[in-house]
Structures are given as C-alpha cells and as structure tokens.
C-alpha cells in the first residue's frame, strides 16, 4: 500500500471528503440530534472516539481476516467500541446519555464509520488509520456542531445552553441568549430545520470550493503568460 501523506488525510477528513458534507454519510444522527450544541458535541465526541478506536483495531487485524468475513468482523469491532462509548457516557454524562438515547447505540450503524473501516483502515497501517479516523471524526463532529449551533440559535435564540450536561459545573454559565423575548423559530428545531441547515451548509461549501477553483484557474491563466514572455526574451538573446 502506498504511503499516504498525513496532510492529505487531514485535508480529506476536514474538508475535501468530509463525511457529513461530501460523503453524506451518517445523516441519521446528524439530522436527529443536532438540535443544540451540547447534543451535537456529545454525539460528535462519541462518534470520534468510536471511529478512532475502530480504525485502529481494523487496521491491526487487516491481514488476519479474509474478505469473506471482513464486514461481520468490522461490525463486531465497531459495536464493541460503541458499547464502550455508551457505557462511558452513562457513567460520566448520564443526563446527556438520556437525551441522546438510542442515537448513541445507533453509532454502530453510522455508515461513515463502516465506510472508513472498509475504505481506509483495512488497507493502511495502524498510525495513518488512527489519524484518518481522528480527522474524519473531527470533520463529522465539527459539521454536527455547526448545524447544532445554527439550529439552537434560530430555534431557541440561545447558544451553548445546558453545556453543564457535558462539561460539568465548568460549562454551566456558558449560555448566551439573544434577547429575553425571542419568539422561537420552531421549524429550526424540528426535523425540517435539520435538512434546511444541512442543505445550506453543503451549498456554502460548494460555493467556497467553486470560488477557490475559479481563483486557481485565474492564477494559472496568469502564470503561462509570464513564462511565455520570459521565453521570448530568451529566444531574443539567442538570436
């Protein structure tokens, strides 16, 4: 297997091949629990932990399992890590565990995790696999948090409400609210809001990408001109 550069892995996970915005994997938790920042952060961290762990384990056993039993083995590994994450959340952030409910267990079925196990970890060495898992998980968690923040802000007029569920007393006073009589734009908190916000984020990413491509093209169009002018001079010198 060819060596993959860490910079490329980072770029892929966070932007170019972002699991939520480009691969559109793991949409179920993305849409279902992104109603507030604290929910999004909680599920994002859980997914990140599972993704790093499962990528490492899959990479370690990649030469021991045959193709025929590859998928069941991966699912077993992912399920074990998900159970660990679930038990940890139950122990340390019990209230958040109750709010997120079934969606923690459903990390098992998150296609982004199985996708990374199959597409990357089963073909690469442990360290790059772990970094890939971390970057993909981070990319997913960041999108989840942005969606959560936008929906919380539009829907309830607050930001970082109830952070103590995740961070303990440290995060209790983080709540920022816009105004006391914000009417509450309920559609943002309801399921349609998740689709709308995610859609707008994907559109925003595409705008940024096409703008970047346009600038790159403009730069490339400038560069050959410089070169050709230099060549004219060179030929001029020779003759």
């Amino acid at each position: 297997m060819s060596q993959v550069s860490y910079q490329e892995i980072t770029e892929n996970g966070l932007w170019k091949n972002n699991p939520a915005l480009v691969q559109l994997l793991g949409l179920c938790p993305l849409l279902a629990v992104s109603g507030s920042v604290v929910n999004a952060l909680g599920l994002g961290i859980a997914t990140l932990v599972v993704l790093v762990g499962s990528n490492l384990a899959v990479s370690l056993i990649r030469n021991a399992v045959t193709d025929a039993i590859k998928l069941p083995a991966f699912v077993m590994i992912i399920a074990s890590f998900t159970t660990c994450a679930e038990l940890l959340m139950q122990a340390f952030t019990y209230e958040l565990y109750q709010i997120l409910g079934i969606f923690i267990a459903l990390i098992v079925t998150n296609c982004a995790i199985l996708g990374r196990a199959d597409a990357f970890a089963s073909k690469n060495k442990p360290i790059p696999s772990m970094i890939d898992g971390f970057m993909m998980g981070l990319g997913f968690a960041l999108v989840l948090m942005v969606v959560g923040a936008v929906r919380e802000l539009l829907g309830n007029g607050t930001l970082f409400a109830d952070m103590h569920l995740l961070l303990g007393e440290f995060g209790r006073n983080w709540t920022i609210s816009i105004s006391d009589n914000y009417p509450g734009f309920l559609v943002a908190v309801l399921p349609p809001g998740a689709f709308l916000v995610t859609g707008f984020l994907i559109a925003l990413k595409n705008i940024i990408d096409s703008e970047a491509a346009r600038r790159k093209k403009a730069r490339q169009a400038l560069a050959p001109e410089e070169k050709s002018s230099r060549r004219v001079r060179t030929t001029g010198n020779i003759t």
């Binding site: 509450g184 734009f185 309920l186 559609v187």
Partner: protein, 348 residues
C-alpha cells in the same frame, strides 16, 4: 416584416404569464374586500407587507442569480404569491413573522428551486406551513369578525403589527376552531351557543361572505379560462360528500356541509391555491385526482386531526404526489386509439 403562413385555427391567444397573473390578482378582490370589511385594516397591512417583502426578496435573489430583474418581476408571479400569503395569514400578524414567511415563500420555496415554473411546491403554502409550525400562538389568533365586536383602529393595528403589543379582546375563534373546541356539544348546540354561528346566515359569521367572495372570484377565473374546472370541482365535491357521510348532528358529528364549504380557507384553496399551474397535476384526469385527494385530506385533517383547518397541509402533500399522478394519467394523444402509459416504451 414577417409573413409566416399559418394554417387554421387563426385564433390568437392573448394569455401571457403576466396577463394570467394579473387576472388572478384581480379575481381575489371580492374575497379580499369581504375580508377587509369583516376583519378590518389588518388585512390591508398584511397585503402591503407581503407585497413589499415578496417583491423585494424576488428582486434581491434575481440580482444574486444574475437574472434580469425587471423582466421577471413583470411576470407578477411574486405578486400573486404575496397576495395569497397576505390573505392566508391572520390579520394583525407581527411584521417579522410576515418577513420570515415571505423569505420562505420566495427565496426557499421558489427561487432556490430555480424560479417560476420549477417550484415543486406552492410557495405561499410553504410559507404558511413554516409559520404555522414555527409560531403556533401568533398563527392561530384570528380577529373576530366585525359583527361580533369592534375592530382595532388603524393606530392600534399598526402598534400591534410593528411593536408586537398584544391587543386582547379583538381575537376570536374561527368557525372551524369553534367546532374543534366544543367536542361534547351537538351540532345544534354549537349553532345556538357559539356567537360565530348564531350571528351567521349559513356557515359562520363573516367567513361565509369571505368564502363567497373567493367563490365569485374563482368563477370569474373559470369564465376567463385561466384554469379548467376539474381540480376545484373535484375538491369541493369530495369535501361535500365526506361531510355528508360523516354528518349526523350528534357531538361526534362532522361540521355541516355548508360550514365545510364556506369557512376556513376552502374557497381560497379550491380556486386560487390548488389551481396553481406549476405545482399541480397537468392533465384533466390528473387534476380530478389531485383535487379529489386534496378534498379528502382537508376533510380528514379537519375532522380527525389536531388542526382546525388543513388546506395548506393537504395542498403540500398532494404537491408531492403531483408528478406521480402525472406519470399515470398521460392523456391520449391525437391519432392514437388508446392513451400511452408513461411506463410503456415509445414505438416510433
């Protein structure tokens, strides 16, 4: 100079998008006048705000999309959306709510899909439903009609719209609200006890005339051949049939036929919303099915659901189904003995 030789018929079609849209706006006048008479100046404020916001959003998005602004504004489709939304929203709604509604109607439901002709859903109804599920308190406060109490003065109305100060005493239950909220009463009791019915001639004070106004406007549009009779007739017939079947006068009964037909948004929906040429089914048979299903859904949600009125939800649900209906109701083309199904292969 062009001398194009044309075969018959030589009839000249004068209908352009612009003309059609203006005729539709014109046809809302009787119903709108009735609303202004019964619910006061709030209706005019609503219409002014929706027209301003909708045209503004339309121009802004057209500018961002680098389309000719004047050309698309002059087809008046944004004006029709604005007028329908303004008539559908409760009078004296706060201005920011109307602003959000217009944003969703024009920017999200229409322009993001590609502008007029590409929107799968009726923009005004998208805006109405977004507002209804987002701001249920403000969206369910209808003013009481004029014969049941005073209407707010102009200054009171403007204060309410722009500062949000609540003015109590002017709002009252709509006829459909009254039916929804008095489940233990028989129909006769509701009619004698609730002022909204006891002050009415046949279907609910004020609302019967508003609906009659929209019916008049709708018949005018039908006469001008803006749309065919299929969808409205089918919707009203199914709604009437269902309310006859479920009517027995007891406390479990549905509202009487006339109340279903002449209160809430029935007539506005039947003649101005479901006849939208973009988001409805296109063949005549398809329109019969489209309208009939909307009538059925309106009745089901009104009678069994939690919401007193259901035209917006039913229209959106059937907008989803319109391409599917079109798929199975391709009409017989001239020269073929039987209609070609969209599922069959074309023999050339």
């Amino acid at each position: 100079m062009s001398f194009i030789s044309q075969s018959s018929p030589h009839a000249h079609a004068t209908n352009s998008t612009q003309r059609v849209m203006l005729t539709v706006v014109l046809a809302t006048i009787p119903g709108a006048l009735a609303m202004v008479y019964f619910f006061g100046v709030g209706v005019i404020i609503n219409l002014t705000l929706t027209i301003g916001f909708c045209l503004g959003f339309e121009a802004a998005v057209l500018y961002l999309r680098k389309r000719p602004i004047g050309f698309y504004l002059k087809d008046f489709s944004a004006l029709v959306t604005a007028v329908l939304l303004g008539l559908a929203l409760p009078p004296y709604s706060p201005w920011w709510m109307i602003f959000v509604g217009c944003f969703f109607a024009i920017v999200v439901a229409k322009q993001l899909y590609g502008g007029l002709g590409f929107n799968p859903f009726n923009p005004a109804m998208i805006a109405y439903v977004v507002l209804l599920i987002s701001f249920p308190v403000q969206m369910t406060q209808w003013a009481a009609p004029v014969n049941l109490g005073d209407l707010p003065s102009i200054s009171e109305a403007l204060t309410k719209v722009f500062t949000g100060t609540a003015i109590d005493g002017y709002s009252g239950a709509t006829p459909l609200d009254a039916f929804k909220q008095s489940e233990s009463l028989t129909v006769a009791d509701i009619y004698s006890q609730k002022p909204i019915f006891s002050e009415a001639f046949f279907a609910g004070a004020g609302w019967e005339w508003v609906n009659a106004g929209f019916l008049l406007g709708g018949l005018f549009l039908l006469w001008r051949k803006i749309f065919t009779w299929h969808a409205p007739v089918s919707m009203l017939a199914v709604l009437a049939l269902m309310s006859i079947i479920f009517y027995d006068g007891s406390s479990e009964s549905s509202a009487p036929v006339l109340t279903h037909l002449f209160s809430g948004a029935t007539m506005l929906g039947a003649f101005f919303i479901i006849t939208d040429p973009v988001s409805s089914a296109v063949s005549n048979k398809g329109r019969l099915i489209f309208g009939g299903c909307i009538g059925l859904l309106v009745f089901l949600i009104r009678h069994f659901g939690n919401y007193p009125d259901a035209v917006a939800f039913s229209v959106l649900l059937m907008n989803f189904a319109a391409p599917f209906i079109d798929y199975y109701t391709v009409p017989r083309s001239y020269g073929h003995s039987k209609p070609r199904r969209a599922t069959e292969k074309v023999d050339v």
